[in-house]
Each structure stands twice: as structure tokens, then as C-alpha cells.
């Protein structure tokens, strides 16, 4: 009976792609139907399925085939349970997608995760551990006197931080928000530090948003080509290149960046982008509705 169910599922899926399996899927359906109506499966499909499996294994290893043959009932139960579990999981995903617009659920981490790090960095992994930063310095936009403050920790070469950009823009356009960006370059992304430095240097020439937009737009090139790409972008943003290069080589810039990194660590940031909406954390590029939910 178990075999009938698996055979039905497996052949059913295969028959979507190849007509060859359709009669077998039909047989599987008949078999499952008979099983459900308390009649014995009379199509011999279970045996066909078992021999297909055992024979294919036998070509590689007679010893494993022997084991599979002996434990076939157990193995098929495991498969059935896994299949049911994976169906359940998919259904949960569909539900989440429908309700939250994200198949991984409301707290899904579609982010650039901190990994291969030592020390404090990357010790945390859950939104409940996040601590809102106390200092409100950073790259600012919006209305600084608004009573809605959104702080973002982001990395310029993280695809997810980039993905959240349209959202940030929409928030800036549609709400009266005090927006503060704190660069948090992830060490596991190439050239993330240089990119962050470049945007900090752009602030000094009042070109922060131009630089930020261009870096995101050419994220891959920045990540691969580093300084070369950054200089090109700075130049095309209309920056004074002497000042820019001076800034890039200046210890002060490095110190400023380190300050934000320390703030990120203190906030237990483990992934980018991470937002704090009036102190309430939100990890990953979420939908505008979720932001609005937290804003309320």
C-alpha cells in the first residue's frame, strides 16, 4: 500500500514530463483508490515499483540492493513520511507566500548572513536577540525631526541590502521618516569595506545618495573590481577625485566605519539588511506592508 502511494506520487510527477509514465501514474491512482476503499491493490504496481528500484540499485551494488530489498518496507515508509513532510512544508510555504508575501514566513532571513567570523561578530542568529542602537548618527535622509525613526544596517555589496533599496525609497517618498543608514560591511563579501568607505567619503562631498545608488547599481563590478570600479563610480558621480582619493586613504574614514561596525556588533546584527523601526527590528528585504505594520 505504501508503495502504491509513493509510486503514484513519483510516477505522477514524472508523467508531467514524460508520457511514458502516464499509464504507471494511472495504475498508481487506481491502486491508491483501491487501497483507500479497503480493497487490495490489484495492479501489481507495488511489485513493479520495487523491482524497478531494486534492479537499478543492483547495477551499482548488489550488496546495497540486497539491503534495499530486505528493508524495502521500512525504506518506503521513510520515503512516504519524507514525502508527506515535504508536501506539508511546501503547503506552509504557499501559505506564507499568500499571507506574508514571502514563502519563508514573516521572520524569514533572506539576508546576507554573517558567517565564518570569529569573536562577537556573528554570534547571534535571531531577531529576538537584536538590540536597537542608541546613537542616531549615520548617513541621513528624510525628516530628522519626525517621530518615526528607521535605522538600517546595510552592506553595499550585499544583494539583499540592494533588494531592500526600492523599499527604502518608497518609505522616504510616502512617509515622514527620519532615516539613518549605518554601513555594516560584511567581511564575507568582497570589497565591502571599500564600498562602505566610498559612500562615507561621498557624504563629505554631498554626493552620498548618488554614490549609494551607483554602487548598488554596479554591485557586482564593485565586488569584483574593488577600488578600480569604485573610483570610476566616484568620478561619474561628479566627485572631486583628489578629495575622494584623499578621503579613501584617510584613517579618519576607517575609524568612522569602524564606529558603525562596533555599533552593529553591539546591536547583535547577524545579517543585512537589518532595520529598526522606532527600535523594533526587521531583518531582510521585507514587503512595504510589513514595514507599515511595524510603523503602526
Amino acid at each position: 500500500m505504501v508503495l502504491c502511494i509513493i509510486a503514484f506520487i513519483v510516477f505522477g510527477i514524472m508523467s508531467i514530463f514524460s508520457a511514458k509514465y502516464r499509464p504507471l501514474a494511472k495504475e498508481g491512482f487506481r491502486c491508491v483508490f483501491r487501497t483507500l476503499t479497503m480493497k487490495p491493490c490489484d495492479t501489481g504496481l507495488d511489485q513493479k515499483f520495487k523491482t524497478e528500484v531494486v534492479y537499478s540499485v543492483m547495477r551499482y551494488s548488489p550488496a546495497i540492493a540486497r539491503f534495499v530489498n530486505k528493508q524495502f518496507a521500512v525504506i518506503s515508509w521513510i520515503f512516504v513520511l519524507l514525502t508527506i513532510a515535504s508536501f506539508g512544508y511546501s503547503a506552509y510555504g504557499v501559505y506564507n507566500f499568500y499571507v506574508f508575501g514571502n514563502c519563508e514566513g514573516p521572520n524569514a532571513v533572506s539576508t546576507c548572513i554573517l558567517n565564518d567570523l570569529t569573536g562577537d561578530y556573528g554570534r547571534f542568529s535571531s531577531p529576538t536577540e537584536l538590540i536597537s542602537p542608541t546613537s542616531l548618527d549615520g548617513i541621513k535622509a528624510g525628516n530628522s525631526s519626525s517621530n518615526l525613526t528607521i535605522v538600517e544596517f546595510g552592506c553595499f555589496v550585499c544583494p539583499y541590502t540592494k533588494k531592500a533599496e526600492p523599499l527604502v525609497k518608497e518609505l522616504l517618498n510616502t512617509t515622514n521618516v527620519n532615516y539613518i543608514f549605518k554601513p555594516f560591511p560584511l567581511p564575507n563579501h568582497n570589497n565591502s569595506f571599500i564600498a562602505a568607505q566610498a559612500v562615507l567619503c561621498a557624504v563629505k562631498q554631498d554626493k552620498a545618495w548618488e554614490m549609494r545608488e551607483r554602487v548598488f547599481a554596479h554591485q557586482e563590478t564593485c565586488s569584483v573590481d574593488g577600488t578600480l570600479a569604485i573610483n570610476d563610480i566616484a568620478e561619474s558621480s561628479g566627485m572631486n577625485m583628489t578629495l575622494f582619493k584623499g578621503c579613501m586613504n584617510n584613517n579618519e574614514t576607517v575609524e568612522e566605519l569602524n564606529k558603525y561596525i562596533e555599533q552593529g556588533k553591539a546591536a547583535h546584527i547577524y545579517a543585512t539588511p537589518t532595520f529598526f523601526i522606532n527600535g523594533k527590528p526587521l531583518v531582510g528585504p521585507k514587503s512595504i506592508d510589513e514595514f507599515k505594520g511595524l510603523i503602526k
Binding site: 501489481g44 548488489p62 530489498n69
Partner: protein, 393 residues
């Protein structure tokens, strides 16, 4: 014996080892050609139309009747065309007179085609049925003698068994039957294809067999019966061709065997059936028997070598064995062998009581060889079985 080249099916499936001949045999090109020739060169009705193609067809059909009857040592007037063995057995069961004597004796080893018509008659109260038990697939002559008496109207049994290929001494059984004044009907489905059967000399009353198991066409068989029985027995199926004259008041039944041949017959099949008999005769039934003996010995040694369980007594065998292997379910075993390019049958072989009496409660696999099989085929079967024995034993 190397006749493989005569079999187009085998030529088209070079890698196939066909060992399911007890179910049905492969057909040689001579049979296929003969069948084709009916459609291409004859095309008409037999025994009805007087135009030249009608006459030509009638003549050929009678010629075929002579060939097929002759093949089992009978005369053409004793042969009725049937669809298969099953139809012949049904005819005998349903047309025998059970007024004076009511008992029919048969064995547990029979094919469903023997058992079911008899069980039906028993269940409707028309006959009393004695079913002889078997010891390891064998029913002894003493059992027959003890069972047959003055109450016995009819004995129905096989000459060769389809689950074990064990041959019965039907000539002696016929003697016992006739001494008691009863009739004997032989299910020759598995005997006639494999060795010389002589209806007259073995003194049968009825003999049924199928074309398809002996290289002939499907859908055609024969019932051979003694002349007086054909005369005295009532009709079975009636219709076109079974009468002399018909009015609404009176039907005058045909005086010869055509009274049993209702409707247009399977002419092409009859052509093929006769061609098969000629083909077998040309090879010689003695040679076929000897060839199968060799195959039988080889098969048994391969089965033993793979530690298979073989059912039934090992004496008086043809080239057919029912077997199981370790913990494999019979259908699994057959499917696995199929993957190795070997065709065998699995299940109960339409003889469930027989299989159960042999101790194969869940059925088994059956290997059966014929003229076109070689020792090389048997070797391939043995190798595959050996491989599977590592999986299942």
C-alpha cells in the same frame, strides 16, 4: 537443434530469452505465412459458397483437418475445430450424458479450464465430482483405480501438467476408465506440443488441445472425439453450418462433426494450425522430445545451482519447472528476470488448487522451454538466476 532462424519474433528480439512457452509459443514464419495465405490467396467461406474460392477454401480446410487430426493419430472425421483447449473441455463437460452415471473424476492438478466447467456442473447438481489429491504433484495409478467405478461417467485429466510438466500415464488410466465402462477426456494442451500423442492407440474418448501452444495460431484449437460420441452427443453452440435443414417446426442437425462448428470458423488460424503441425512433424516429435529432455536436465541443474525451490516430483518431466527463489515474491522474480531479458511467467498459472497442493501458497515463477530454446538460453537463465539468488537468498 537450431531452428531459431525460423522465428521472426526471436530474430527481432535477439537479446530475449523466451522461456514462457507453456503460456504460449512463438510462431515460425511458416505458420505466419500460412495464415497470411488464407487472406491473400483464399479469402472465402468454407462449406458454404460454391464459387471457386469457396471451393478452394473448403478443400484446404478439410486438408488442414486431416493434417491436424493426423498429427495426434486421429482421422479427420473425428476432429472439431474449437477456439482452444478450454472450449473443447467445456463442450465435453456440457454435452456428456450424465443421466445414467453421474460421477466425474478429475485431479487437484488440473488447469482451471478443466476444473471450472466441472465445478459449475457440480454446483448446479448435474454431476458428482471426485477430485483426486496429489502427492508432490503425482496422482498414482492406484488412486485412479480406487476412484473409478461403475458410477463413473467421465474422467477428465491432463497428459502433461502445466505447473510441473509431469507426464501422466494416460494410456493406463484410459484402460482403467474403459474397464469401468466410463469415458476419458484428455486435456492435451501441454502434452500434444511436446511429444507424440496417439488418440487411437492411447484409446482416448476425447482429446483437447490448442494451436497456440504448439507454434500455431492463437484462437484455434481442436477437440478430437470418437465417432460414436460425436454422433450421440447433443450440440453445444448452434448456428450457421450446424444443420442440414431448418424450418420453424423442425431442425435437422448435421450428421457429421460440423454440427459442433457453429458459425464461420477461424480459417486463417486453421491454416496456421495445420502449418504448425507440419512444421513439428518435419522436425520429428521424437527429436523434439529428446531436445526438451536435454533442456530439462540443464534447467534443473541451473535451478539447483541457484538454490531455487522447485515444486513437484522430478521424474517424468518435460522442460518446465515451477520455482521460487529465497524471499522473492513470484511476480518480483519474474519482473527481475524480465529486466535481465528473460521471459518467464509468475503466479498460479490458472491452476491455483494445484499450486496450493504443491505447497506454493503464494504462487511461484515458471520457466518453460520449447523447440527454439537452446542450452545457451538455459545458461543465460541460470546466470540471471544465480545473480538474483544473491539478492533474495
Amino acid at each position: 537443434m537450431n531452428v531459431k532462424n525460423d522465428f521472426p519474433f526471436l530474430a527481432k528480439n535477439i537479446d530475449l530469452v523466451y522461456l514462457d512457452s507453456a503460456c504460449t509459443s512463438i510462431k515460425p514464419k511458416q505458420v505466419i505465412e500460412a495464415e497470411k495465405s488464407y487472406y491473400e490467396d483464399y479469402g472465402a467461406c468454407a462449406g458454404r459458397s460454391s464459387h471457386k474460392f469457396g471451393a478452394k477454401t473448403s478443400e484446404k480446410i478439410e486438408n488442414c483437418r486431416e493434417i491436424v487430426a493426423g498429427f495426434v493419430g486421429a482421422k479427420s472425421e473425428n476432429l472439431i475445430w474449437t477456439r482452444n483447449t478450454t472450449e473443447g473441455l467445456n463442450l465435453v463437460a456440457n454435452c456428456t450424458d450424465f443421466q445414467k452415471r453421474k460421477t466425474v473424476v478429475t485431479t487437484i492438478n488440473e488447469h482451471h479450464s478443466v476444473l471450472l466447467p466441472l465445478l459449475k456442473l457440480r454446483d448446479t447438481g448435474k454431476i458428482k465430482l471426485k477430485v483426486l489429491k496429489a502427492e508432490n504433484g503425482v496422482v498414482s495409478l492406484e488412486q485412479w483405480s480406487d476412484a473409478i467405478d461403475k458410477e463413473t461417467a467421465l474422467v477428465v485429466t491432463h497428459n502433461s501438467n502445466n505447473t510441473t510438466s509431469i507426464k501422466q500415464n494416460v494410456k493406463q488410466i484410459a484402460e482403467i476408465v474403459h474397464d469401468a465402462g466410463a469415458l476419458i477426456c484428455i486435456d492435451g494442451a501441454q502434452g500434444v506440443p511436446h511429444y507424440a500423442v496417439d488418440f487411437g492407440q492411447e484409446n482416448f474418448d476425447f482429446l483437447c488441445f490448442s494451436g497456440h501452444k504448439m507454434l500455431g495460431s492463437t484462437g484455434i484449437g481442436a477437440l478430437v472425439a470418437k465417432t460414436e460420441l460425436l454422433k450421440s452427443m447433443p450440440q453445444f453452440l448452434v448456428g450457421g453450418g450446424t444443420v442440414k435443414t431448418v424450418s420453424l417446426e423442425k431442425v435437422v442437425v448435421a450428421s457429421d462433426q460440423s454440427k459442433f462448428e457453429a458459425g464461420i470458423q477461424h480459417y486463417a488460424g486453421i491454416f496456421g494450425f495445420a502449418a504448425a503441425c507440419e512444421y513439428l512433424k518435419k522436425i520429428g516429435m521424437k527429436n523434439i522430445e529428446a531436445h526438451e529432455k536435454t533442456l530439462s536436465t540443464a534447467l534443473l541443474s541451473e535451478l539447483k545451482n541457484a538454490n531455487a525451490t522447485v515444486y513437484g516430483d522430478l521424474n517424468n518431466r518435460g522442460a518446465l519447472y515451477s520455482f521460487n527463489l529465497g524471499n522473492a515474491a513470484p511476480h518480483e522474480l519474474a519482473l527481475m528476470l524480465d529486466k535481465e531479458g528473460i521471459a518467464v511467467r509468475s503466479g498460479f498459472f490458472c491452476a491455483q488448487p494445484a499450486m496450493e497442493s504443491l505447497g506454493a501458497k503464494n504462487g511461484c515463477a515458471r520457466v518453460s522451454a520449447y523447440v527454439y530454446n537452446s542450452l545457451e538460453d538455459v545458461k543465460k537463465f541460470g546466470n540471471a538466476l544465480k545473480k538474483l539468488s544473491e539478492l533474495y537468498c
